[in-house]
Symmetry: C2
């Protein structure tokens, strides 16, 4: 059927890829969207899954459900291994696809600045599975502390370090502090969870470095009010199972979470185009590959500048790029000239626990409850297309009214041994 | 504090253990409840997690949250390795506990009738992780079929066998048929999911063998209306990656799920008491161990008879046993004589997809929509204590009204390769 229609292959079902596919609705093309996971993820709320405030299903939706009414799209679950731009074909781990147009929107993942050996001790937050792993470690630490007799070991278990003071680190630290200090105390008998130490380490001079300095300062104050120790200019030089090093200083911490670096998807390097320092692909003004007008890069993987400043790796930018690529393909098919991509900056938002946030929207700087309400509104708005919008609202209202965080499930532990959460030299707590 | 109070150690936070702990509220004892997972699971709805209709958090609740207002309970996350009834102590994988009273309520797990080699090809359904694994395989099969070019391989991928015609097998088969035939068709382009084959194999002469024959027959008819092939007298003799054998007959099936046998927790054999054929512990009339009045066995692990018939391994029975043990401990402490356990049979219920079920309550036999409404009512009732009761109701109402099953997330796939879901000889589908 309609084999003469150009075949558009979209790699990645994130904000850029999904928006591109949807913007091609009704266009005379056939689309294959490939993603390694079966769901589109509302990543801005992923930290709430990591802190057990939302269930995965509340922020993730199967891609093929989202696109089920769009008849020109086929969704493939598959892992892309390579792209051959000469032969116009994509190699999957278990198959292959040829294309007329290619949209590479495989995004970014977390990176350890050349210290991949830190990965097992400091998990990052990009996928649902990442979030469930962080949740598991966070909750298990309290379980182990409840059974720990040695005060020093207990202290260590109740110390959490978050590396990286961008929005993810800030939101993670705020949510963890809030849960430990306001929600958990009633649940435990032996430990006082209000003594939990949460450290947020930022290598640069301030947290939320991409935001105006005023908001960074307000975010810091709001975090400190929640009991988070914010340390700037703190460049991590080592991470071991129960220790973080900052130069000569050593911090004993049972758990370290990574929110510091992102690296572009390695697929970018397979396209034969120049990359920037972060591995992102330098594209033309219309987001196409230099010399390859049939290949586009969109979202976090694309290095795009607007008025001399880089377009940030945020969801609204990715959606705008996806939409632009779709528009360009339509113009091609109609024989009209291409137009350059223009980024429209909608502002910045970060939330810091219950009813506290910082925001910069259209030049307006907000903080505290007002910013938080804006944050809730914007996120509910963006969840459009998610069946679960209403459920998430109810969930939030419930958590807000009852001060409860109910979804504290630990899953995915084939072998349970709390000793693994403790340093090797620690004693076994025996109690009768 | 109150170290002279007797120490009651409860092993297992299922229906029996949790009910026992709650029934000891305010009693002059200190309780330690040990479970290998941090949550109590509403197991009767676990098949809905396996079929992606509910999220884990909607049927599981952290044990320590449930018990947080009961000050005489301490919850320990830990895996029990052994019990020494002589020394009155419990050995955990990473610690130890001594007791004055012990309540063993570690339940049952699925068993493969001495064919443990079937386990990797036919996962069972007892824990949240089991349910997520079944969901993953069920959903991945459709993803692989969507990309499969060879009709025979596609057919195989869309054939699911469920072994065991008890309530779990019946509910799983009904839910899977419904999803494949009524919910999924719109989502796929290459495959027709209404051609999905679901076989329910039962070794005995009828499904739901513990129910009255009339209900078995009605359940069979309701399943067949949903498109399930029900086969009784079908004793499975072999399970390979893509094949099930019944004697000489071979059925090609991409996925097999196990709902056939249960075996008592191996801890039962460590108590030094006689066991029945299923490995359950033969207890005294008061549920205590013969010659060990301070040790009780409750729930699925206890072999109890009522009027010559075994008490079934269902949630109401487990809760009644847990309550009885608590009452017995209280009577001991008050110097009153013990009483024998009496089982009150509340009836039987099994659901078969949307708005269809069979029920036997107080001698009354129901089927179809009426039975289904009873089923919904009873389950909502039992979810009492679960914060999520309201959310589950909303979720069900939503699914009922929209005919949608939204939570079709695949998680926990470290390496994606759909070829693994196919038999070794199958070709790689390459499409352009």
């Amino acid at each position: 059927m309609a084999e003469h229609r150009p075949h558009v292959v979209i790699l990645g079902g994130g904000f850029a890829g999904l928006t591109c596919a949807r913007a091609l609705r009704g266009a005379p093309v056939r689309i294959t969207l490939v993603d390694r996971s079966n769901h589109h993820l509302f990543q801005p709320l992923l930290y709430q899954v990591a802190t057990a405030s939302l269930s995965p299903a509340e922020i993730a939706s199967p891609i093929r459900s989202i696109l089920r009414r769009q008849s020109n799209v086929q969704v493939w679950l598959g892992e892309v291994e390579d792209v051959d731009v000469e032969r116009r074909s994509v190699r999957l781990r278990d198959g292959a696809l040829s294309y007329d147009y290619l949209v590479v929107a495989t995004g970014a993942t977390h990176a350890y600045f050349g210290h991949d050996e830190w990965a097992p001790h400091a998990p990052g937050l990009k996928t649902v599975d990442d979030a469930l792993e962080i949740r598991r470690r966070f909750l298990l630490a309290f379980e182990a502390a409840e059974r720990e007799a040695d005060p020093a070991a207990r202290r260590r278990l109740l110390t959490f370090v978050i590396v990286g003071g961008g929005p993810t680190g800030v939101e993670l630290a705020g949510a963890m502090a809030e849960i430990a200090r306001q929600v958990m105390p009633r649940d435990f008998r032996s430990i006082d969870t209000t003594t939990t130490r949460i450290l947020l380490l930022e290598g640069g001079p301030r947290i939320l470095g991409a935001y105006p300095p005023v908001l960074s300062e307000q975010a810091r104050r709001q975090l400190e009010r929640l009991g988070v120790e914010v340390r700037t200019g703190a460049l991590v030089t080592g991470i071991e199972p129960v220790e973080v090093r900052i130069g000569e200083e050593r911090i004993e911490a049972g758990n370290v979470f990574w929110a510091a670096g992102v690296a572009a998807s390695p697929l970018g390097a397979r396209l034969g185009a120049p990359l920037d320092r972060a591995g992102r692909v330098r594209v033309e003004a219309d987001l196409s590959l230099p010399g390859r007008p049939e290949v586009f890069v969109a979202g976090d993987l694309a290095a795009v500048e607007e008025d001399g400043a880089p377009v940030p790796g945020v969801a609204p930018a990715a959606m705008q790029m996806g939409r632009h690529v779709a528009r360009t393909i339509r113009r091609d098919l109609e024989g009209r000239a291409r137009e350059p991509f223009r980024y429209f900056d909608k502002g910045n938002l970060a939330t810091i626990g219950r009813a506290a946030a910082v925001a910069e929207i259209a030049g307006l700087r907000l903080s505290g409850l007002v910013a938080w309400l804006v944050w809730v509104f914007v996120h509910i708005l963006y969840l459009i297309g998610f069946r679960n919008r209403l459920l998430v609202l109810i969930q939030w209202a419930w958590a807000y009214l009852t001060y409860q965080r109910g979804i504290r499930l630990i899953t995915g532990q084939p072998e349970l041994n709390l000793r693994r959460a403790r340093p090797p030299e620690a004693e076994i707590a025996a109690s009768g």
